[in-house]
């Protein structure tokens, strides 16, 4: 089975700085794979391992910054066999509709496939919409919330964990399935995996088409922080725990 795993590269939010005017500064933030897309990669790798003769292709679209060698090796060290990437500043900050369009063009280069996996939601927008938009663009069935996937003959059986029910569904292939983080814990690649990753095929190119957002961003700023007292005590100091307890009682 040929599995495509679609992932997003985002600036590491640990290193996003808030400027004096509350605007966000990404200049120190390295490009990383969005957290929950690692779980999708792991799910893809495990599904491939469970079905002999399978392969996994990673696909991603974003600004030119996402063409980062460390990030690419990290992806290919996780059971992904080949990478396709559109890295072009015209693809920075695309909304779900535009992303799906760009991904669909990129996936056309991959050729035939059986299944496209997506993560639960990207760390930046967490819109949980690219899976659906991509499926609509490609004319494929889609299900989200997958916590288990088993390959059948021409279909996959998916367990979906929804808000109130667990559904078992059969999805005809090819299909798009987005997975919850619970489906598989990302592996920690070893040195050998990372070295081998450097030798795997990486297909990086600029954008072919142009993609227009259907959502207009009016403003984006850090929220105002609530004023907090910031009284920090060391538990080892005499009376600190009593003082902390008294503060809790006073607030009740």
């Amino acid at each position: 089975m040929k599995i495509v795993v679609s992932f997003k590269v985002v600036p590491d939010d640990q290193d996003i700085q808030v400027s004096g005017d509350r605007s966000l500064d990404y200049s120190k933030a390295k490009p990383i794979v969005s957290t929950y897309d690692l779980n999708a990669m792991e799910a893809a790798a495990q599904l491939a391992a469970a079905n002999e003769g399978s392969s996994v292709v990673g696909v991603t679209v974003g600004g030119s910054k996402i063409d980062d060698s460390k990030m690419k090796k990290n992806v290919l060290a996780r059971g992904v066999d080949e990478l396709y990437m559109t890295a072009d500043d015209s693809c920075d900050g695309l909304d779900a509709h535009a992303t799906a369009e760009a991904l669909a063009e990129l996936i056309a280069k991959v050729g035939e496939y059986d299944l496209i996996l997506c993560g639960d939601g990207s760390a930046d927008n967490y819109a949980q919409q690219v899976d659906v938009q991509l499926a609509a663009k490609l004319g494929l069935p889609v299900v989200n919330g997958a916590t288990k996937i088993e390959a059948g003959d021409g279909f996959v059986t998916v367990e979906r964990t929804l808000e109130d029910v667990i559904e078992t569904v059969e999805v005809p292939l090819p299909a798009v399935v987005s997975v919850t983080p619970d489906i598989a814990l990302p592996r920690i690649p070893g040195m050998k995996d990372i070295l081998a990753a450097g030798k795997k095929p990486m297909n990086v190119a600029g954008a072919e088409g142009s993609y227009a957002n259907a959502i207009e961003v009016v403003d984006c700023k850090a929220p105002e922080q609530a004023d907090r007292k910031l009284e920090i005590m060391d538990a080892a100091d005499d009376g600190a725990i009593e003082k902390f307890a008294a503060a809790i009682k006073a607030a009740l």
């Binding site: 779900a96 667990i166 009016v218 910031l230 538990a235 902390f244 607030a251």
Partner: protein, 296 residues
């Protein structure tokens, strides 16, 4: 303007219809399957009966047909997994994108979270139809009205149907942290499930509800999914919040930073939570929690 409301649960349907009413002069509720339609909330209720073996999501083609016939200017959808698929397919059909998990509206400008609360984005639809998913509470003040004229929609079968094999209800813990004045939250500082006893004891002393950060419900089943706090879980505003062994990542903090008083216990004095709390205690939960419980 006409607005569509897509929901699968009655409470959400009522609130979204009320919200839609604040901007639209005609509110059309799309009710799929056997959702109990709340009384007097919409001008029109379009009912979609689900055929045997069909999944909720596959109602999308039927809803698209109704969308084309009715031509609404806005769509308000409940942010559940089923509804997100239907709303997404509808948006794709309209050449649009859904503005998701809106926390506030100002006219047609919607605010939502960016990077789990590191930022807030204000956005609006560039095209002629706006699509939103909106969580509970945003339209809590709005009043729904309407005569609920029911119309049955003819099922439009999808080209490639998903087959529903089984559906079984998830057993819930019944814990409602929204009702708790005091919430104690446990994070990854708890090294094993047994240590949660320390948090339980503190809860008992304080009459508090026990919640957690997301990692304690993922891959492990230490606590039920419905008690994790943060941008993708519960957004609480209790009187008192005591975070134990939680580092203070924004994705978690947006779920508790509207608390009246915020307390934090962490063994790392540089943990980000110490820059966002009222009172912080630097120490190991294994020793601090029993001592604190005793001191209360």
């Amino acid at each position: 303007m006409k607005a569509f409301v897509l929901a699968e649960r009655s409470d959400a349907a009522r609130e979204l219809c009320a919200g839609a009413r604040t901007v639209a002069d005609e509110v059309v509720l799309v009710a799929v399957g056997d959702m109990e339609v709340p009384a007097a909330v919409a001008d029109k209720v379009l009912h979609v009966a689900l055929p045997e073996g069909a999944v909720f999501d596959d109602a999308a083609d039927t809803v698209i047909a109704a969308f084309d016939a009715e031509q609404p200017g806005a769509v308000f959808a409940e942010p559940t997994k089923h509804v997100k698929v239907v709303a997404g397919k509808l948006a794709a059909h309209a050449g649009a994108s859904v503005i998701t998990d809106v926390i506030a509206f100002e006219g047609d400008v919607a605010t939502n979270m960016f990077f789990g609360g590191v930022g807030q984005k204000q956005q609006k639809a560039a095209g002629s139809v706006a699509f939103y998913t909106v969580g509970a509470g945003v339209f809590a003040e709005a009043q729904a009205s309407g005569t609920n004229a029911v119309e049955e929609l003819a099922w439009v079968a999808p080209a490639k149907a998903v087959k529903l094999v089984a559906s079984k209800p998830i057993e819930k813990s019944g814990v409602d942290l929204f009702k708790a004045d005091v919430v104690v939250a446990a994070g990854r500082g708890f090294a094993e499930k047994d240590e949660l006893k320390l948090a339980d004891d503190l809860c008992e002393k304080l009459g508090a509800g026990l919640g957690c950060s997301r990692p304690l419900t993922e891959g492990v089943d230490w606590l039920p999914t419905e008690v994790y706090i943060g941008v993708s879980g519960l957004m609480l505003s209790p009187k008192v919040y005591v975070a134990c062994g939680i580092s203070g990542q924004m994705q978690h903090m947006v779920g508790c930073n509207r608390a009246g008083a915020l307390f934090a216990i962490n063994k790392d004095k540089n943990a980000p939570i110490f820059k966002q709390c009222d009172y912080g205690l630097v120490g190991d939960i294994k020793t601090v929690l029993p001592a604190l419980t005793a001191a209360l």
